[in-house]
Structures are given as structure tokens and as C-alpha cells.
Point group: C3
């Protein structure tokens, strides 16, 4: 149902552009990590999976598969916890990795996406609001314990982290807004074309662009510390 | 099919009660961990995911989604390996974490749940018996290597672990019994209402109550060691 | 659709043979690890999950379930990353575990399998070619960084690793060939019976036999080093 609306909305050129830039960015991260060799390899690897997985899932919007109605969620379930993993590891750069907090952050985000599926499929909008409560947990972790960890290592890292966390926080709040006023949500303010394009533009900044930004920030922070 | 039987059985108030206590317990674990600050943070985090994931999956029984027929398994695939992770980490408290044994324990439990899906959907009851063989492996690990690890650290920890392992072992054996005599299994001794309520009562003790019990046991063991 | 073709092709005895040898091998790895006690426990554990998961997923070909059309992919999504995990851990035997490279290797393989599902279900053969590009990445990692790590530890380990990597590389290239000329692919050179039997023979060597080979190689390498 969602798929049919998206597929017939005329947004296909945007979807193709998204997929092509996603796969291309995945390769570019690796090329860039040869030049910026002070960035630990785990960062290009995580960003590669964020964009490549997202690109693959958007293939489900080009032609019908059993996943087509859930293409966004199939993407988000993997890519958005990885976005937070990259952000969390940036905060913990050059200090001890706190896997318990990273697990909490990624798990909250994963469940938040699952509430979207349940809400879309069952029409129970309160599942969406449970998801927003989980998002509050994500925001709290980003601006509480993770920010503190970044500043404990160095002021440079703290500032870089704050920039990245602001960037991601704004986008991660826009996602449920678009969902609510778009095709999966109850309001239908946005039509199929607008929802589809919004879910091309938002992830383009959260994934493709974010990967370069994150790697650049770590590269610069390393240079200043050296 | 399973969903239709559950949804029309009149068990909805029980399902709602389960979901509400699950989400509430998730929050309580975090509040409690501020008071019992000798309990490592990974324990409230794991127990939070056990109950919250379970609560979210039970939403699929309130209103139809593509997951509704598999709601129990979707819950169990994530929550029951996490229950065993908490139990295994309790056994390894204050000693080296043996990730190979934890992986074996959680993987056996995950596959056991998958045999339930296959058995329900295909009617091949021998898949259920393969699942029981995997459960034997889980029980062996809990009472063999994990019990030994707990006693090697201290007698106090050994006793606490034995209490928790007995508690979980009893419930984990009751699950396949209810499955076999309930709606998904071949016998149909229990009707839709009875199966649904049984799968509210069992997880309430295995998840909500178990989280408090586990955290209390670790809190007490830490106090005695100090 | 795929399931119907497989189920009526007369390959059932082969499928049953595959399932039985898979479950039996899983047990044998543990028995063998008592005799070859210089092999770290993680190896029999990983190989146990490779064959047991594969055996369980092939149950979906005996009787219809919602997973039956995706039985191969459900198997491969879990078992083939684990095959590469065992190979990668063999390369890193007695040296530092590089989780970033293991994650990259396993993630590439996982996404490669997902392109197979999308390609089969949507008829977009270019998804299959994206999968082949991901396979090139897997092959590069196996013959570049991982081979180097094995030789850095010892010549004996390097040679054992090279044997295992050659073995797996040949089979992992044969999989997409059979897919392309078989039932899921566009050419249909192989009929249902031939595809089904090919996907019993290939995994039998990649999973059941490979587990013994890997454990034997590590056992021998350990003996020579001692």
C-alpha cells in the first residue's frame, strides 16, 4: 500500500539518485580513509554500511518485493543505530569504549523504528508515541553521558562531538515529524511524492553527508591533538 | 490464524496489563539502579530491553499487523536470549567474560525459538522436538559450566546464581509445555483464552519479576563481598 | 513460487540427507573438540551454528512456511557470515582480533545475500550484480589483509589459511553462478531438481566438511607450533 503510493508518485528519479549517491559515498569513505589515515578504520567501515545498506533497501521502492511496504523501516532498523554507533564512538574517541551505553543507545533507536512499523501496519498511533518516548531517551543519552565523555577527553573533541550531535539531533527529530504528517502517519498533509522526496532528502544529509562530516571532524581533532 | 484466535478470546485486558507493566518495569530498573549503585549498569540495560521489547511485540496482539501471527516468537527471539545473557553475566560477575559460552547459550535459545515458528507454520511437530533438544543444551550449560563459574568466584554468588538458574529453568521448561498443549501445538488442551493468559503469566515472571530479582541478587552479593 | 518448484522437483531425499548430516555434524564438532583440545572452543561453537542454522532453514523446504520461498537466503544470511568469521578468526589465530575487519567481512557477505532476495523477488538483475561487487570486496579482504595477518603469525598458519581461503573462495564464487543459471536467476539452465541438489552439494562442502577441515587445520598448526 505504502509502496504503491510511493512507486506511482513520480519520485523514482529522486530514489535512483539516492541509491547511486549512497553506493558511491560508500566507496569514497574508503578512498578518503587512505588520505586521512589518522581516522580509525572502524569509522569508514561503519559509514560504508550506513549508506550501502540504505541504498540496497531503497531498491525495494523501484520494484515490488515483500519488503517494499517496509522499505524505510528495513533501512532505518540497521542504518540509524549505526549512525548513533558512529556518533557514540566519536564521543568515546581516545577513551574507553562503554559498550553498555552504546548498546542502550542503539537498542533504543532500533525499538523506536519498530514502533513505526507497528504503528503503520496496525493504525495504533499510540505505538508512534511510545517511539517518541524512546527518541527522548536517545536525545538524553546524546546530550548527557555521551557529551560529557567527549569533553572529558578534550575540548576539541567535545566541540566536534557537539556539532555532530546537534546535526543528528535535528534530523532525528525531523524524521518522526515527516512520518506523522506524511503517508505512513495519520495526518496526510504530505502526499506520496512529498513524503518520498522528504525521505530522500533527510537521509541524504543524515547518511551520505554525515559520513564525510564525521570523518572530517575526527581527522581534524586528531591533527590538533598531535 | 493464531492472532485471530488470541484477539477474539477475550484476553485483551491481560495483554494490556502485560504491556503496561512491561514498559513500567523498564523505567523502574533504571530508577532502581540509581539506588543500588553497586549493580553494573549493563544489568538494568539488559532487563530494560527484555521487558520493553516484549511489551512492544505484544502490541501486535492488540491490532493486526503482519507480525501478529508470530508475536510470541518475535518477542522470544530477542527477549529470551537476553534473559540468558543476564543470567550468564550474573554467573560471570567479577570474573572473566566468556563470550564463546555466552554466544553458545544465546544462539541455542534463539534457534529453539525459530523451531517454534517452523513447527507452528509447517505443522512438522518434529521441528518442535529439535527445539527441545536445543533446550536440553541450554539447561546443560546453565547447570554445568555456568554454575561452576559462579561458584569459582564465591559461594555467595554461586548460591544467588543457583536460585536464579532454578527460577529460569522451571519457566523455560514450562514454555514448550504450554506451547505443546496450547493453540500453536498439536494437542489443543488449552483454548485461545487459556493459551493467551498462560503466555502473559509465564513471561511476567520470567521478565518483569526476574529483572528485579536478578538486580537484587547482584546488589546483595556485592554488599556481602564488600 | 521458488518453494513450489523445489518441493515438487523430487529433491526431498537430498534435502533430508542435508538436514540430518548438518545436525549430526553440529554434535560431532563438540565431540571432536574434546579430543583436539588445542582448538579454541569458539571454533566448534561457530561451526555448530553454521550447520545447525542451515539444517533448520532447510526444514522450510520440506513443508510450506512463510519462509519457504526465502529458505536459501535465510540460511545464507546467518551461515555464510559465520563461515567467514571462522575463516577470519583462523587468520587471526594467536594474534590480535581485528573486529573492524571481521565486521566488514561479515557485513559485506550479509548484504550480498540480501541482494539475492531483492533480485529474486523484484526481477531486477542489477541487484544481483551489486551483490557480485560486494563479493569482490569479500575476496579482496580474504586474499589481502587476512592472508597477510595469517603469514605474519607463522608460515604454518599462513599455509593452512591459504588452503582454507582457496577452498571457501571457489565455493563462494560457485554460489552466484548456480543462482544465475538456476531457478532464482534469469537463465533457467538448471531446472528445479538440479538447482535444489546443487544447493545441497555446495553447502555440504562449505559447511559440514569445512567445519572438520578448519578444526583439523588449527589442531595441526597448534601441534607444530608446540
Amino acid at each position: 500500500m505504502v509502496y504503491d503510493i510511493i512507486a506511482t508518485s513520480g519520485s523514482t528519479p529522486y530514489l535512483i539518485g539516492y541509491i547511486v549517491t549512497a553506493l558511491a559515498s560508500g566507496l569514497l569513505y574508503f578512498l578518503l580513509s587512505k588520505k586521512w589515515d589518522n581516522v580509525p578504520k572502524k569509522f569508514p567501515i561503519i559509514h560504508f554500511f550506513i549508506v550501502t545498506w540504505s541504498g540496497l533497501m531503497y531498491l525495494n521502492f523501484l520494484n515490488a518485493t515483500p519488503l517494499s511496504d517496509f522499505g524505510w523501516y528495513m533501512d532505518w532498523m540497521v542504518s540509524t543505530p549505526l549512525i548513533l554507533l558512529a556518533l557514540g564512538l566519536t564521543a568515546m574517541h581516545n577513551s574507553k569504549t562503554r559498550w553498555d551505553l552504546l548498546g542502550l543507545l542503539m537498542g533504543l533507536q532500533f525499538m523506536l523504528v519498530v514502533t513505526g512499523i507497528i504503528s503503520q501496519e496496525s493504525g495504533m498511533t499510540f505505538a508512534y508515541w511510545i517511539g517518541n518516548a524512546l527518541l527522548l531517551g536517545v536525545i538524553y543519552l546524546l546530550w548527557g553521558p555521551f557529551k560529557q565523555m567527549a569533553y572529558e577527553t578534550s575540548d576539541t573533541l567535545g566541540k566536534s562531538y557537539t556539532t555532530l550531535a546537534s546535526y543528528i539531533s535535528v534530523f532525528f527529530v525531523l524524521y518522526p515529524v515527516v512520518w506523522y504528517i506524511g503517508i505512513p502517519g495519520p495526518l496526510n498533509v504530505l502526499n506520496g511524492f512529498q513524503t518520498s522526496v522528504a525521505f530522500v532528502v533527510l537521509p541524504f544529509f543524515c547518511k551520505q553527508v554525515y559520513g564525510f562530516l564525521d570523518m572530517y571532524m575526527i581527522h581534524k581533532a586528531e591533527e590538533e591533538m598531535a
